[in-house]
Amino acid sequence: MNDILTRWLGRVDEIAARVRRTTPGPLLVRVGLFVSALLAVLGWLISTLAYGVGPDFLALILLATALYLVHTLAALAAVLPHDAVVAPGVLLRWLRRAGLVLGLTAALALFAVVVPPYLGDHAYLVASLLGLVLMVATVGYLARLVRRR
């Protein structure tokens, strides 16, 4: 019984020491991660199950933002030790990069929401052509990457 108690107390001490050493930078990253994941899940559930309606432009952007933030902040959290001393420029650069990607995504989302009503019956043709162009671009990109390696 004493051994079990000692082990538990040891674990509590370890957790307390970990909490004491945690610095604000990595903690902000982890909190941002958690909040983003929560927003993504809740938003998706509400829009697809409760109302049965596909997301509109704003909801789409918010969902894409939340999912991408979860992904990129998880990537940052994975490489950032919990007790690290972080230079402010690290987080700013990371968020700036994420902002650029989300900005481009918003532009694409606007295109995807606004344009289809104007295409009428040609929507599937345009979508297929765009998909083809995208595939060619992807193959070319990958080929270029492999050649540079």
Binding site: G25, L67, T72, A78, A87, G89, L104, A112, G131
Partner: protein, 432 residues
């Protein structure tokens, strides 16, 4: 060229894009493509311009030689030799427990522009003598939005020489046999010196300024003032490093046996070298290291550096007989043995020196408050028996003519040095 490895985030990005685009094609939903877009864009932008070289790390220290309790400026530098910036670099360094660096045990994270370096300045506080190491340092770089991580770049450790703080030591002028040529000890031999020994007739070779004109005018023959020579002496410090005992707490904490031994040796050497005597050091241990005899300030610095290499080897092996013994010490030298007397072989070594006719003084370096190991019910009795046995050994050494005193800084050796000097000047029976 070193490699970069993909992270879990890379696999996650590829998987999410694949699943969402696949679902979009099957269900005909453009919004799913929009959801996949940031993943694909982020990966594409990151990987298109990715670095190929790992970070270069350098460790530096500002001072090579400091005293215990001194401050050492230390620095870490991580450079990006590539043309592409790193997203971030995680820098870690190992630091000896005898170098206290505030926040030094934390990882540091910073960005590094291409062709540039990020510097981290730290201040280390040296708390114990020796050669503590600052470093090695390791740096991992992350690029492509956390999708790629580099192999570690490593910086070699730098050792700092921390000299022991010398316990203040003063001793009387008693020296059993000052046999050197020029020094600070009064001797009974005629020669150039400061102490007058009378007036005698002028002889060829006498210095003109020694002429005593008052006596010469009275006797009408040249007379000179005769003096006794001042000679230096040789002191040999023997350090018993067969065993270490006690836990060192650095300069601000408890002393172990080696701490007391090294600091006492530094203090005694400083005292005699300052007076112009010659000092040499000898290690009673497996390596039997020896520092040759020397004098002056240069020898003092050499002594301090020599003491940094003192360490107790595991196993407690004695030195080879031809490398260590009375034959390695001059007959006129004063031998000061610093020993905790934990091993009976140390007492036998001291007795050998005494039987060989050397002037030997023992200094007990065992801390008085050293806690003995406690194991069940017999520890107290066993500890007392051990202490009684040790006291017995000390008395046997005294009977051999070797006084042993506990180290207490200034004045520790005054009484025993007087005893040894009296014994040296006493008539000795010689077989004819």
């Amino acid at each position: 060229m070193r490699r970069w490895a993909p992270t879990h985030a890379f696999g996650r990005a590829v998987l999410v894009v694949g699943v969402l685009v696949g679902l979009a094609m099957v269900l005909g939903r453009a919004d799913l493509v929009v959801l996949a877009t940031p993943f694909a864009l982020g990966a594409a932008l990151g990987i298109w311009r990715r670095p190929s070289r790992v970070p270069v790390v350098r460790v530096s220290t500002g001072a090579e030689f400091v005293g215990e309790g001194g401050e050492v400026p230390a620095g870490l530098s991580v450079a990006n030799p590539d043309e592409v910036p790193y997203d971030l670099v995680v820098l870690r360094t190992a630091i000896s427990p005898w170098l206290v660096v505030p926040e030094g045990d934390r990882p540091y994270v910073t960005t590094v522009a291409p062709g540039a370096a990020a510097d981290l300045d730290l201040r280390a506080h040296a708390v114990r003598w020796g050669r503590p190491a600052f470093g090695p340092a390791v740096a991992h770089a992350v690029a492509a939005d956390g999708l790629l991580v580099s192999e570690p770049g490593m910086g070699q450790a730098r050792r700092v020489k921390v000299s022991p703080v010398t316990d203040p030591f003063e001793a009387t002028d008693s020296m059993p046999r000052a046999a050197g040529l020029v020094g600070a000890h009064h001797s009974r031999r005629p020669g150039e010196g400061g102490e007058l020994a009378g007036v005698r007739m002028f002889a060829p070779g006498d210095r003109l300024r020694r002429i005593d004109w008052r006596v010469s005018l009275r006797t009408r023959e040249l007379h000179v003032a005769a003096t006794l020579s001042d000679r230096d002496a040789e002191v040999v410090l023997v350090l018993d490093i067969l065993h270490e005992a006690g836990r060192s707490g650095g300069i601000h904490g408890a002393r172990s046996v080696l701490d007391t031994t090294v600091r006492a040796a530094a203090g005694i050497a400083e005292h005699y070298l300052h007076r112009g005597d010659r000092v040499s050091l000898l290690e009673y241990g497996f390596r039997a290291r020896r520092l040759r005899t020397g004098s002056g300030r240069r020898q003092y610095h050499t002594v301090l550096e020599w003491l940094l290499g003192v360490s107790a080897a595991a196993g407690g092996f004695e030195p080879a007989p031809d490398a260590f013994g009375p034959h390695t010490v001059s007959t006129n030298a004063l031998v000061v043995v610093l020993t905790p007397l934990l091993d009976v072989r140390a007492a036998q070594m001291i007795a050998r020196f005494a039987r060989a006719g050397r002037f030997v003084v023992g200094v007990d370096t065992l801390p008085a408050d050293l806690p003995l190991p406690v194991r069940r019910d017999w520890s107290t009795i066993a500890g007392r028996l051990w202490r009684l046995e040790r006291t017995n050994i000390l008395e046997q050494l005294r009977e051999h003519g070797v006084p042993v005193v506990a180290w207490a800084g200034a004045g520790s050796l005054d009484e025993v040095l007087r005893q040894v000097s009296r014994m040296a000047s006493a008539p000795k029976a010689v077989l004819r």
